[in-house]
């Protein structure tokens, strides 16, 4: 009897964990690519700017029932990460996740909140792949502003700090130019006045 209860408890844990997994995957986008299904999103959701995260990819072969996890994709597929309208991308290496066949991760840290695009290029087995997944409603979540969950002090994100430092640097440059001009004027003006007085 105890064994039956233990077995039922184990079954409950397994089913619950499956439910949790399914819920997490609901913030991922599913797309059929040839005979394969891609499930794509952030590795840790909700994703926050300034925290280590990554591209989460699951590839299954839909020709079998149940769908078979596809392994070895990290050798034939690359992923590029784009933020906003920036044409320069980031290419984190795609790696197979230990002990989770068919699941891959490409670690990176989103440094700005907002929408991200993951572009996969290469092959899955013999299937050519060139697919872009973009975060957004009905797809997978954007990277959020960490200020939403920070307590008690709000820590500015690194990108915002970098912008502010750039602005300070620009202002310092302007101040330096003004100071040099003032210095030059302070030297030239008395000299000029002296010359004029001497001529007078």
């Amino acid at each position: 009897m105890t064994r039956i209860f233990a077995a039922l408890a184990a079954l409950t844990v397994i089913v619950s964990s499956q439910l949790v997994t399914t819920q997490t995957a609901s913030a991922h986008e599913r797309r059929t690519v040839g005979p394969y299904q891609f499930v794509v999103g952030f590795l840790n959701e909700p994703a926050f700017a300034g925290s280590l995260n990554g591209v989460d990819l699951t590839v299954t072969d839909t020709r079998t029932s149940p769908p078979k996890n596809v392994e070895g994709v990290e050798k034939t597929l690359t992923v590029e990460v784009f933020a906003g309208g920036l044409s320069t991308s980031f290419k984190p290496p795609l790696t197979a996740r230990f002990g989770q066949p068919g699941k891959y991760a490409a670690y990176f840290e989103p440094t700005r909140p907002g929408s991200y695009r993951f572009t996969f290029k290469g092959k899955v087995e013999s299937q050519d792949v060139s697919e872009t997944f973009e975060s957004g409603p009905g797809r997978f979540n954007d990277a959020e502003d960490p200020a939403l969950v920070q307590y008690p002090a709000k820590v500015p994100e690194a990108a915002a700090l970098a912008d502010k430092l750039d602005a300070i640097d620009r202002d310092l440059g302007s101040l330096r130019a003004i100071a040099l001009a003032a210095l030059a004027l302070a030297i030239v003006l008395p000299l000029g006045l002296g010359v004029m007085r001497r001529r007078a």
């Binding site: 906003g84 309208g85 920036l86 044409s87 700005r112 907002g114 957004g136 409603p137 009905g138």
Partner: protein, 621 residues
């Protein structure tokens, strides 16, 4: 008098802007219309306005070229030739009958299953003023200033005048009359044959005020001439106000403020001109103390006039500017900014005259040097004032940033260096058209890779929905959809993706109100205990033979959307049919209907076997 002069202008903005049309912009019609009607924010002059309707290529005209006023307020119409299915483009140009300013625009509609064509690039929607117009306005303002300021100076500031000074004053006032005549002529010439009658009448009246002063300048005594010049100047100022942005607003208070602004500006600037032209050339004939007293009296008058000028100017700027950034990002704002800078420069010179040269003269300390300084300062002031008149000439011709758009919601934000104006056609639940105007300073942003709207209802969880917009005109991105389906406060996040920059996002809060959904609104609240249904059809005016979508938002007693229910609708009317609705997001359901006959229909909506409610709607022929 003010109210009377405003009759016919209606509630309006400064230019005749597109408010609505039939067919609407981007409308999809089952049959070709027989005419196109457009309503504007202020009355257009039909003789110098035109609507052209062209085929999808933008080359062949399908209108009959009979643009005329329609019976709707501020409306124009044009008849169309018989045409079939296809995409059509409407290009319009309107001349405001209030101030003669021109506006133009373009929109498209499609008949049948044809694609919506691209709208035509008709150029600047509000062309900048031509040099002749700017010259006309500048001369007119200078004329008004010389008449009002010159006469006030003579009446209240100058005491014990000499014959030579009176002669100079006569020339000054006559010059004001000449400026009025020339300015009015330039403005009439600029408008050409299509000048709106109301505007022509006011410009003619202004010119005649100048003619009258020229006619009596030599005949009247000095005192009478000053009085006549003051009356002529006030009449001219009133005519200027009645064809201004203030008059176009249709608000008597705005007209009064504008008139006071013009009189204050004229009193100060014309007074400075009188000081320079009439008094200072004879400075040596003055006793230094008398001249110091005159400068003191004029300074007191000028300080009062400038205070009124600044106050009324700020009130007007607040009325017509939307954002602080407008001051350097819009032509209108730049003109105001330039005016403020020039006014500041003039004030510095005036303060120098008041605080340094005036006391010097009154105390007879170095009177010769003080006289020279006063003359230099007054000349500098006149130069700044001429600059102010030029800026004002442009100001009155440029489009103010605060414009009547006809949209139910119109707000502007500044984000990431971009100016983002969101317009929503309606604030009732149901299909809506969202327009985002994107400008980088003065330039429309035409290279956005993506513009999207994300919708979240604040009060209840209905999930987040996205609409991706298409560029329909330079810098104008449009998306249409049913996302604001529920009464409440919607947060709309706009996302603009431009090359080589992170996404630029900002958030607007749009109330989708129950009050707005009164009679005539498509969305209806249907009671189906224990639930409440918010029901509407898409398109809002269904047409026989065309597809219709029945939309339902299911909410519980607490007002929260209810997901995971089975909804069906039994349609009864000229015939009957069953529709099964699907859940498209949390608590939102829709059902596609291929076609309906014309007539009155009732949808009996069932929520499983729990609840039932009826929604009635009409289908047009």
């Amino acid at each position: 008098m003010v109210a009377g002069a405003l009759v016919g202008t209606g509630a309006a903005a400064a230019h005749a802007n597109y408010v609505k049309s039939n067919p609407a912009a981007d409308a999809r019609l089952v049959r070709a219309p027989s005419e196109v009607r457009i309503s504007f924010s202020e009355p257009p002059e039909p003789r110098s306005s035109e609507i052209q309707v062209l085929d999808a290529t933008g080359k062949a005209r399908i209108d009959k070229g009979d643009t005329s006023a329609s019976e709707e307020p501020n409306g124009l119409r044009v008849s169309l030739k018989a045409v079939g299915d296809g995409g059509y483009v409407v290009a319009w140009a309107a001349t405001s009958s209030v101030d003669g300013h021109q506006t133009r625009g373009s929109f498209a509609f499609a008949v049948g299953s044809a694609d919506l064509p691209n709208v035509l690039d008709v150029g600047d929607p509000a062309p900048p003023p031509r040099p002749l117009e700017d010259a006309g306005r500048t001369l007119s303002f200078a004329g008004i200033a010389l008449l009002i300021g010159g006469s006030v100076f003579g009446l209240f500031v100058r005491r014990a005048p000499t014959r030579a000074q009176d002669s100079r004053e006569q020339v000054l006032l006559a010059t004001g009359g000449v400026f009025l005549v020339l300015g009015s002529l330039a403005l009439l010439l600029n408008l050409g044959g299509g000048s709106p009658p109301r505007l022509t009448a006011f410009l003619t009246a202004r010119g005649l005020a100048g003619v009258a002063i020229l006619a009596v300048a030599a005949a009247l005594s000095e005192a009478r001439l000053r009085q006549a010049a003051l009356v002529a100047g006030l009449v001219a100022a009133f005519t200027a106000t009645l064809v201004s942005h203030a008059a176009a607003s249709g608000e008597v208070v705005q007209v009064a403020i504008d008139l006071v602004h013009a009189i204050a500006a004229s009193t100060w600037s014309g007074g400075v001109a009188a000081l320079l032209m009439v008094v200072l050339p004879f400075g040596r004939s003055f006793d230094s103390r008398d001249l110091g007293g005159l400068v003191g009296r004029f300074s007191a008058l000028a300080v009062g006039a400038i205070a009124v000028l600044a106050l009324t100017g700020v009130v007007q700027a607040l009325e017509r500017l939307v954002l602080l950034e407008d001051l350097w990002e819009t032509p209108y704002g730049i003109a105001i900014f330039a005016k403020v800078l020039l006014l500041g420069a003039a004030l510095v010179l005036a303060a120098f005259n008041l605080l340094r040269w005036g006391p010097h003269l009154r105390r007879a300390v170095e009177p010769e040097a003080a006289m020279r300084g006063l003359r230099r300062g007054a000349r500098g002031e006149v130069v700044a004032i001429v600059g102010i008149f030029l800026a004002t000439g442009l100001l009155t011709a440029f489009v103010p940033p605060a414009q009547t758009s006809g949209a139910a919601y119109d707000q502007t934000r500044h984000a990431g260096g971009l100016r983002l104006e969101l317009l929503a056609a309606s604030t009732t639940p149901g299909q809506n058209r969202f327009v985002l105007r994107v400008h980088d300073r003065l330039v429309p942003v035409t290279d956005a890779q993506k513009v999207a709207f994300r919708f979240t209802l604040i009060e209840h969880d209905m999930g987040e929905n996205e609409l991706v917009a298409q560029q329909r005109a330079p810098g104008e991105y449009v998306a249409t959809g049913n996302v604001t389906s529920m009464f409440g406060t919607w947060r709309i996040q706009t996302i603009v993706r431009v090359p080589e920059r992170p996404d630029i996002t900002t958030t607007f809060t749009v109330p989708i109100g129950a009050a707005a959904a009164g009679p005539g609104a498509v969305a209806r609240v249907v009671s189906a205990p224990p639930y409440t249904l918010v029901v509407y059809v898409d398109p809002p005016q269904p047409v026989a033979g065309a597809p219709v979508t029945l939309n339902v938002v299911l909410v519980d007693a607490k007002g929260d959307p209810v997901p995971n229910k089975t909804l069906t609708a039994a349609l009864t009317g000229p015939s009957s049919q069953m529709v099964t609705l699907r859940e498209i997001s949390v608590g939102r359901y829709d059902g596609a209907i291929a076609a309906l006959e014309a007539g009155k229909w009732t949808a009996a909506i069932s929520v499983g076997s729990e609840a039932k409610g009826d929604y009635a709607f009409d289908v047009a022929r």
